[in-house]
Point group: C2
Chain length 348, copies 2
């Protein structure tokens, strides 16, 4: 049996994440269990070189159509491009007043089917295959975030779009099928479950206290770093080891309220967090997700209690039947321990 650290001897605890209304089991001692399969879970597969990559500069013709580029001049070299996903999860919406509801033809289940229309775009974050998001400088990371914002503002014109999910997959075990640095934007005709749950729990907190639950977060032991407009923390009931949330200090419901100054500030903090994860966890695969609010504001108070944030999750181990069955997660690292490590990691 491997020798254990003091943290690993701590008794298990079950914590509730009040935002996602979810229970997480913290159980550091489980980190010691043996692994009986020959190779430990997959190394991040190495990726093809850029020569045949459609996302590389010079290969634009291999991509689905461009939506816009930065800088916007179509003749100049681009620093980033927003393009249509060639294999979209949803059919592209055509009319601003498209109606995704299903006619009676839907196998008699019309209350349970919505037509699969929306938008699914890719943001190519750099023209160069070997450059990662965390290699960009804060202003350039900010430009990627502003591209997400601009695209959301375009999509917002389509009234039937209920929610826009911005996310990034980095590395094969984080789900990426393309290795060239990119993120994705998926605009949905429904409000997804995590968002409905968050709406309910933040509303409940607001009804009880008159306050926004994320404005009230007391980082205390959970703080990693701070920037002018943002703080980064490990959430109190983090679902995954070393999960990070970057939260705007000032109350803001929608990510697309981000302005240029805040984008650079956020770009710097995001870069710092990615570099810290890479240094501490040996360049792990990761995902990030922008957790924002539904586009349409149905309840006038909604703007008072919804607060967007950016969630970063390094992919360190898979999950099993317990998590699939229950929706509860087992996290082997207490958030206060992860925060301390990330606060102190040296990334000179």
């Amino acid at each position: 049996m491997a020798s254990s650290t003091p943290e690993q001897n701590r008794s298990p605890e079950v914590r509730r994440d009040p935002l996602n209304n979810q229970w997480v089991i913290f159980s550091p001692a489980r980190a010691k269990r043996p692994y009986d399969f020959k190779s430990k879970s997959p190394q991040n597969a190495s990726s093809n070189s850029g020569s045949s990559c459609p996302f590389c500069i010079g290969n634009e013709h291999e991509c689905a159509p461009e939506i816009f580029r930065v800088p916007t001049d179509p003749k100049s070299d681009w620093k980033l491009r927003v393009i249509e996903n060639l294999y979209p999860a949803l059919s592209r919406a055509v009319e601003k007043d498209d109606d995704p509801r299903c006619e009676t033809s839907c196998l008699g289940y019309s209350d349970r089917i919505v037509r699969g229309i929306g938008f699914h775009d890719v943001v190519i974050e750099t023209p160069v295959h070997s450059v990662q998001l965390s290699d960009l400088d804060p202003r350039e990371v900010g430009d990627v975030l502003l591209a997400h914002k601009k695209r959301i503002e375009q999509i917002k014109e389509y009234e039937f779009i209920k929610y826009v999910q911005v996310f990034k997959n980095h590395g094969a075990s984080a789900g990426a099928s393309m290795s060239h640095s990119h993120s994705q934007i998926l605009a949905l005709p429904v409000i997804p479950p995590t968002v409905s749950t968050r709406l309910c729990s933040t509303k409940e907190y607001f009804d009880q206290t008159g306050k926004c639950i994320l404005c009230e977060v007391q980082p205390k032991d959970l703080l990693i770093d701070e920037a002018k407009h943002f703080v980064s923390i490990v959430p109190f009931a983090a679902t995954f080891p070393f999960e990070i949330w970057i939260i705007p200090r000032d109350h803001s419901s929608h990510f697309h309220e981000l302005d240029s100054e805040k984008a650079i500030d956020l770009g710097g903090l995001l870069k710092l967090m990615l570099r810290k994860l890479a240094a501490q966890l040996n360049n792990p695969p990761f995902n990030f997700m922008i957790q924002t609010s539904p586009l349409q504001v149905t309840d006038s108070q909604q703007l008072l209690y919804t607060h967007w944030f950016l969630q970063i999750v390094p992919q360190l181990s898979g999950v099993g039947g317990f998590e699939m069955g229950t929706g509860c997660y087992i996290n082997l690292v207490f958030p206060e321990d992860a925060a301390k490590v990330l606060r102190e990691v040296n990334i000179s």
Copy 2:
């Protein structure tokens, strides 16, 4: 671009699973997207041979304590054993009237912390390292299920246990750390989110219709096979490709109502489903989860609208940031297509 089947040309559809209140995007065309990493996602790692495996017959001394065995005679050779998990996610409960609530010492977050006590057991399904669950005959698979039942009935005596999750991880990419065939039983001091959601949605359906939603399932195009007491289907809004639910025909709230005759019947159908998945999908890693009801019945009508089932999920591809962010899933295979394939697959 690979050539596409007629199914792959079908337009995307978004379906709601009324039981889990979850949206799933069906998007077969996405199956054609390229994969840019050198090796396709991990092969199932090969496992160690049995010589050093603590779950093998003869190595009982390397295991955490036994709870019971089948046959029960401690001197006879065993066919299956239920043992304590040596690296439990929760501390073992000691007293029947233990109270997992947190005292004020809990960092001031007492409403968000529960002590991590409960039970975490392992069911070793066979004494032989190379034997898989689907190699056992229906009666032996039934014995495994009856062992789960017996253990739940023991755990039920502990009043603070709210829910018992029975699950199986098969194969490294399904999360398994041990290759010897086994399943797990995790008894929780809280009701997990999937179960609360199911309680709400089945209650709502019952309030509206006076009926149990799972008794009302019309398998139609979604049927795979039938046994005397159970049917197997692909659910209408399956979260994962080739996901299977085995549902008792007669209304039954709790898995632990299973009797010996039904256990053999279920054993046979479970075996058949596992063999069909193995034949069709090249022996994929998989999980199964027994989806039952909370141990304590708080609302007298609860027994009328809750209906247990067994969920089987082959692990064919990972997920990415979209699923983590939204809780929505993208499934590349329409359930009616998966059901047809599984109905017809030959497992002679």
